[in-house]
Amino acid sequence: MKKMDISTILASAIHESKNQVGTLLYQLQGLKESLPANNANEKRITVIEESLKKLNDEWVEYLYLYKLASNGYELHVDKFLLDEFLDDQVFALLASANAKNLELSYHCDSELTGFFDERLMTAVVGTAVYNALRFARSEIQINASLEYDFLVISIEDDGQGFTAKQEDEEFLESNTGLGLYFAKLSASAHVCNDKEGFLRKEKSTGLGGAKLAIYLPQ
C-alpha cells in the first residue's frame, strides 16, 4: 500500500470531528429551546455549549494551521473597520469569558481600518483570548492601533505575564505553543510591499499581565 501523508490524514480526521461538533452544537441548541427558562440545568448546558464552541474553534485553528504549514492556505485580504471586527470577536468570546467571571472588552479608534484576512485573524484572536482565559485574574482586553505601516492587534490580560521558563514549558506541555506557532504563521502569511507580519510577546503596560501583539503590514 502506498504510504499516505499523516498530516493530510489528520487534517481530514479533524475535519470529520469538527463536523460532528457542529452537529452536537445544533442538537444542544434544540435541547436548550425545549427546556423551560430558568431551569436548574441551564448553567450546565451553557458550560457544555461553551466547551463545544471552544473545541470547534480549536479544530478550525488546527485546520488552518495545517493549511498554512503545507502552503495550502489562500490568503484573502480585505479592508475592515477594526471597531466592527473586534466587536465581532468580543461578541463571540464574551460568553466564555463571563463563564470564568472575567471581563472581556476591546478598544480602538472608531475610524481605524486595516487590511487582513478575516478568517485567519478571527482564529488568531480566538486562540489568544482562549489562552488568556487561563491566566487572567479578572480582565482581558483586545486593543488595536496603527504603528507606522503596521496594524497592531494585541490581546492583553492581568495575569502573571510571560516568563522565560513558562514559555518553554508551555511550548512542550500544552497547546499554547501550538497556538503561538499558529499565530506566528498567520502573522507572517500577511505580506505587503515586502514587509511581513510578526508577533511580539510583551508585558502589558495597561493590565500588567501578558500581551500578545500581532503586527500586520498595511
Binding site: 461538533v21 452537529t23 452544537l25 441548541q29 481600518t113
Partner: protein, 403 residues
C-alpha cells in the same frame, strides 16, 4: 448596535439538509421575517426567484447533486434575476469557503461558517442589512442601469463611510467597464493596486487591458490571478477570449476544455466551447459541449432556444462529414423534441429547427423524410407560424429532392 427590523422583509432559505433547514427557518422566523420561502435545491430557488423578489437570500454552499450555492449565485447575478439591493448570505463549511472567496467575480454579500448560533446569524444579517442600507442609492442606481448616477452615489458613500471605500471603488470601476470607459477603468484599478494587491482590482485591470487591446498585459494579469486563486475559474474564460482575439482558436479551445474539467456544470462555458468548436470545425467537441449545455439549460436562467438550436446544428454539421450513428440520431431526436415542446411558438425557431432536420435527413440519404419535413415547414409558412426558407435553402432543397 441598532436592532434591524426584519418584519417587512422577505427571505428565501435554500438548504438541502432537512435538519439545518428546519433550524434556520426557525431562526429566521424568530427574527420576525414577514415571509420565508424555502427551496431545497438551486433549481427550485431559480424558479422561485423568477416569480418573486426577496430582501434576503440565505443559501447553503452545499446543495446536494445539482448546482452549488456559488453557481446559483453566479447565475442569478449574471442574469440579473436578483437586484443589487438584495442581500445574499452564503452558508459555508470550512472546506467550501475557499471556493466562495476565490470566485472573485461573483461574491455573496457575506458568508457565515457552520456551525452558528441564532445570535451570530442575527448579528451577521443585521450588519449586512446595515451595509446594504448605506449602499442603497448606489444599488438602486445600478438596478436602474443609471451608471453615471451609481458612480456619483458611490463617491458620496465613500466619503461618508470610509470603511466602504473598497466596495465603492469596485462599483465605480465596474461601471466604467460597462460604460466602455476602459482607460478610466484601468487607471482606477491601477491606482488601487499601487497600495494593495486586491484580486478584484487586478481582475478589473486585466479586463480593462483586454478591452484596450493590450492583450499580452491582460494575459499576464489573468495568469497572476489564476496563480493566486486556485478557484477563480473565470480567468480561464478570459484567457480563452484573449487567445481568440489573437486568432489562436485552437489554444482557446484547449483552455476552455481545461476549465470545464474543473467545473463541468458551467452552462455559459459549455456554450462558448461549443461555438468555438463550430468555428474550428471540431464538430464532435461542439456536439458534446452543446449536449451538456442542453442538459444544464432546463433549470437555469439561460434556457434559451439558442442552446438547443446549436445542438441541432452540430448534427447537421457532423452528418456532412461522416454518416451519424443511430445513437446520435436518437440524441438529435431528443433535443428536437425539446425544441418542439419549449420554443415552437417562435416562427424563426421553427424554421431553423426544420432546416437542421432536413440537413440531417439529406446528409443521411433519407430523402423522403427530408421531403416530409419540408412539407410540414411549407404548411407552417402558409399558416404564418414559421419563417419561410431562405432562397439559398429553397434552391438547395429543390436540387436535393430532384436527385
Amino acid at each position: 448596535m441598532r436592532k434591524s427590523d426584519f418584519s417587512s422583509q422577505k427571505a428565501l432559505l435554500i438548504e438541502d439538509m432537512a435538519e439545518a433547514r428546519i433550524m434556520q427557518k426557525k431562526m429566521l422566523s424568530d427574527f420576525g421575517f414577514e415571509t420565508i420561502e424555502i427551496a431545497m435545491k438551486a433549481e427550485t430557488a431559480i424558479d422561485l426567484l423568477k416569480t418573486q423578489s426577496f430582501d434576503v437570500i440565505l443559501s447553503d454552499y452545499n446543495l446536494g447533486n445539482g448546482k452549488d450555492g456559488q453557481q446559483l449565485l453566479e447565475e442569478v447575478r449574471y442574469s440579473k434575476l436578483i437586484p443589487n439591493t438584495t442581500t445574499y448570505l452564503m452558508v459555508t463549511a470550512e472546506t467550501s469557503i475557499e471556493m466562495v472567496m476565490g470566485a472573485i467575480e461573483f461574491q455573496p454579500d457575506g458568508y457565515i461558517t457552520k456551525p452558528f448560533s441564532q445570535a451570530v446569524l442575527q448579528r451577521r444579517l443585521s450588519k449586512l442589512l446595515e451595509t446594504k442600507h448605506k449602499l442603497i442609492d448606489v444599488n438602486q442606481a445600478l438596478d436602474q442601469k443609471n451608471l453615471p448616477k451609481a458612480i456619483a452615489e458611490a463617491y458620496k458613500v465613500m466619503e461618508k463611510y470610509p470603511s466602504l471605500e473598497g466596495k465603492c471603488q469596485r462599483v465605480i470601476g465596474e461601471c466604467y467597464l460597462e460604460m466602455k470607459e476602459y482607460q478610466q477603468a484601468k487607471s482606477l484599478f491601477s491606482s488601487i493596486l499601487v497600495n494593495r494587491k486586491m484580486p478584484w482590482a487586478l481582475f478589473g485591470e486585466a479586463r480593462a487591458c483586454f478591452y484596450l487591446n493590450q492583450l499580452e498585459q491582460s494575459e499576464n494579469k489573468f495568469r497572476q490571478l489564476m496563480l493566486d486563486n486556485r478557484f477563480f475559474v473565470s480567468a480561464y474564460d478570459w484567457l480563452a477570449k484573449i487567445k481568440i482575439a489573437q486568432k489562436d482558436n485552437k489554444a482557446a479551445q484547449v483552455i476552455l476544455v481545461d476549465a470545464l474539467e474543473r467545473s463541468p456544470k458551467n452552462l455559459l462555458r459549455q456554450m462558448e466551447l461549443g461555438r468555438l468548436s463550430l468555428i474550428i470545425e471540431d464538430y464532435p467537441t461542439a456536439e458534446f459541449a452543446f449536449r451538456r449545455a442542453v442538459s444544464l439549460a432546463k433549470h437555469s436562467c439561460y434556457n434559451t432556444p439558442e442552446v438547443y438550436l446549436n445542438h441541432l446544428l452540430t448534427f447537421a454539421k457532423l452528418s456532412e462529414k461522416t454518416p451519424i450513428s443511430s445513437r446520435q440520431k436518437e440524441t438529435f431526436q431528443i433535443t428536437l423534441k425539446k425544441v418542439h415542446q419549449l420554443f415552437f411558438d417562435d416562427p424563426s425557431v421553427r424554421a431553423k429547427s426544420y432546416s437542421y432536420e432536413i440537413s440531417v435527413f439529406l446528409n443521411s440519404n433519407e430523402i423522403n423524410s427530408a421531403k416530409n419535413t419540408f412539407q410540414l415547414w411549407t404548411q407552417d409558412v402558409e399558416a404564418g407560424i414559421a419563417v419561410a426558407p431562405t432562397d439559398k435553402q429553397s434552391s438547395q432543397y429543390t436540387l436535393a429532392f430532384e436527385v
